[in-house]
């Protein structure tokens, strides 16, 4: 338990620091950002809403500490005010609509790349001499060495524009009603193939090589030789005895990869016009929608920290030697 408590308090501190930055940033900008906001809104906001936004940012009467408290209160109650871009919808609502898609994209591609990469890495290290071990990892390394944008645009061009096999925009076909229907799920899956596929293609090699290196270390261990001496099937020796241990160093890399995956998803969403946070963030920046930008940064920070904590839970679950 002590390990998880320590991690939890670490993430909470990180979160507090992140949102405190959010509090300080507008204060460091030249001029009053709220006035800039008002100008940017081009008269769409009435003065009462302006006051609400001021309050949300802690630009209230009183000293800095009181302002900070007021700001904290609006953060923790998710009272983040209206979006300029999509006025008068609350930024919480806007973010709430697009966050699930980004989570789906970032975490989905990470999990698939992880599972595929670990499986391929395990297999190719155990059969290092064979065709698979000799050719598959270098081939994946070759693919992942393209800059992401090149891979994404190539996929976009071939599968979307040339072959017209897969859709080029949106998270699902707007003609279909969202719901728990086969049609809707099929449409979501079809729309996810290119964005997710491009992220997987780029991400997979890391896991293959992480896992392969970890496996090569573990394969020299006596407990692997003993498992072989026991006459266990090579499948069991490979995955249960060697793979199970080799995955530990790989699992520590997951936490870091989560952040990268969210960052990568922003680029992906822009290329494939996928309606996630990244897409909205880009539009928000272009429209100078400060409340929206801030809310997205806040939510990204929380999502990454939460995902990191889940990665820690995974690690504790994987390694019995860590005190629970």
């Amino acid at each position: 338990m002590s390990f998880l408590l320590r991690r939890l308090s670490f993430y909470f501190t990180a979160f507090l620091i992140a949102i405190s930055f959010n509090f300080m940033l507008p204060r460091m900008m030249p001029g009053d950002p709220i006035d800039a906001l008002f100008a940017a809104a081009q008269g769409k906001m009435d003065p009462a809403q302006m006051d609400a936004v001021r309050e949300m940012y802690g630009f209230v009467d009183g000293n800095v500490f009181e302002q900070y408290l007021s700001y904290m209160q609006s953060v923790f109650t998710l009272d983040l005010g209206p979006s300029v871009l999509m006025f008068p919808i609350d930024v919480t609502t806007v973010v709430g609509m697009s966050l699930p898609w980004t989570m789906f994209l970032a975490l989905g591609s990470l999990i698939v790349a992880l599972i595929l990469g670990v499986t391929i890495g395990t297999y190719s290290s155990y059969r290092r001499e064979g065709f698979f071990g000799q050719f598959v990892p270098p081939f994946l390394a070759f693919i992942s060495n393209f800059p992401y944008i090149v891979t994404a645009l190539l996929l976009f061009y071939f599968f979307g524009l040339q072959l017209e096999l897969l859709p080029l925009a949106y998270t699902y076909d707007p003609a279909i009603d969202p719901g728990f229907t086969l049609e809707f799920i099929g449409s979501v899956a079809k729309h996810a193939v290119l964005p997710m596929g491009s992220m997987i293609l780029v991400g997979i090699a890391t896991w293959v090589f992480n896992m392969r290196n970890a496996m090569i270390n573990v394969l020299g261990e006596d407990y692997v030789t003993m498992a072989e001496a026991k006459g266990l099937s090579s499948y069991r020796v490979m995955y249960r005895y060697a793979g199970r241990n080799a995955i530990l160093p790989v699992a520590t890399a997951i936490a870091m990869a989560i952040g990268f995956s969210f960052a990568g998803s922003i680029m992906t969403e822009v290329v494939f016009n996928y309606q996630g946070l990244g897409n909205i963030l880009l539009k928000g920046i272009m429209a100078r929608d400060y409340p929206l930008i801030q809310a997205i940064l806040l939510i990204l920070v929380s999502a990454v920290l939460t995902a990191n904590f889940v990665a820690d839970l995974l690690y504790v679950w994987l390694d019995p030697r860590i005190s629970k």
């Binding site: 003993m226 001496a229 026991k230 006459g231 266990l232 199970r244």
Partner: protein
């Protein structure tokens, strides 16, 4: 002599590297009878572990068995298919590794590491195997509740016992023990060896006992083989090897070990360093360190000659 359980004929194991071929086991022939304990002694690097691994074909690249036969109960181990080999391993021959501490997987429970080998070889469920596993732990003096423990939750001695329990799981006819107790303190070592001997009485398996501790070996082995630079240079009944060794290397080894009961004597080491397997001299490998080196020793390899019934040594002086 009884029909041999294991017969090794002219076995050679090479390590192939860019610097050349190191022959870690050279032309070794030996037999182990049912129920017998054969000890293999020799200094570090003489090829004891390599020999042990080769018996169940556990040697990994760059090691290579280049010559010889390994006959177990009339079957040639080197000609077995993968499936036959898997069946043979642990069912017939189990191994307690040199670093038994590291031979348990740290993230798998003791219980699973005990039961999986039973399930892999016998047609029984994990549940039935767990009953058997509990029983096995009991035999080596560990409470059955420990099945759920991970290796790091046990002491070194307990882990060693667990490894022995795993080695006994399928009641093999031969257990290879590669320095099974070197990592333990003397008291625990003694305890475990005593238990091992009770178990041997009960189950009747043979043991190939590898150690560089000659005094320990003198107590437990029926016969002793001594290796030097990959060669078996002397092999015979334990008493004679101890009291009247024939090969100068064996003499040196025995003189360099203190006896607990005998009078205080000066200990003699063997002068010189172990030979480099990549640059072996022509003739006897021991020539540079031998006080009685003759001209022929620098020309011809000494062959194992029978000095007595079941007693062999390889030295030109004999």
């Amino acid at each position: 002599m009884k029909e041999a359980l294991l017969e090794i004929n002219n076995l050679c194991v090479d390590y192939v590297s860019a610097n050349g071929v190191a022959r870690a086991v050279n032309n070794v022939s030996l037999t182990i009878a049912p129920g017998e304990t054969l000890g293999i002694a020799g200094e570090s690097g003489c090829g004891k572990s390599t020999l042990a691994f080769a018996i169940t074909r556990l040697h990994k690249a760059p090691a290579l068995i280049s010559e010889g036969e390994i006959i177990y109960n009339g079957r040639d181990v080197l000609k077995m298919s993968d499936k036959e080999l898997r069946d043979f391993r642990w069912n017939d021959v189990s191994i307690v590794f040199q670093s038994a501490m590291n031979s348990l997987n740290p993230v798998i429970t003791i219980g699973e590491q005990l039961t999986d080998v039973i399930v892999a070889h016998k047609r029984i469920s994990f549940k039935q195997a767990a009953v058997k596993a509990k029983e096995l732990l009991g035999i080596v003096g560990i409470h059955g509740d420990r099945l759920k423990s991970f290796p790091h939750q046990l002491s070194g001695g307990m882990r060693q016992r667990v490894v022995i329990a795993i080695a006994l799981a399928l009641e093999p006819k031969l257990i290879i023990m590669d320095e099974p107790t070197t990592a333990l303190d003397v008291v625990v070592e003694r305890e475990i060896l005593n238990e091992l001997y009770d178990l041997k009485e009960k189950f009747g398996f043979s043991i190939l006992f590898i150690s560089h501790d000659l005094s320990l070996m003198g107590e437990i082995a029926d016969r002793i083989g001594v290796m030097y630079a990959g060669n078996l240079i002397e092999i015979g009944d334990a008493k004679t090897v101890f009291s009247k060794p024939s090969h100068p290397y064996t003499k040196g080894l025995i003189a360099s070990f203190p006896t607990i009961h005998g009078p205080k004597e000066r200990l003699y080491g063997i002068p010189g360093d172990p030979v480099n397997l990549l640059r072996l001299p022509s003739g006897c490998n021991f020539q540079d360190r031998c006080a009685d080196c003759m001209d022929i020793c620098k020309k011809d390899d000494p062959l194992l000659i029978e000095l007595n019934v079941d007693y062999h040594a390889a030295c030109h002086k004999l």
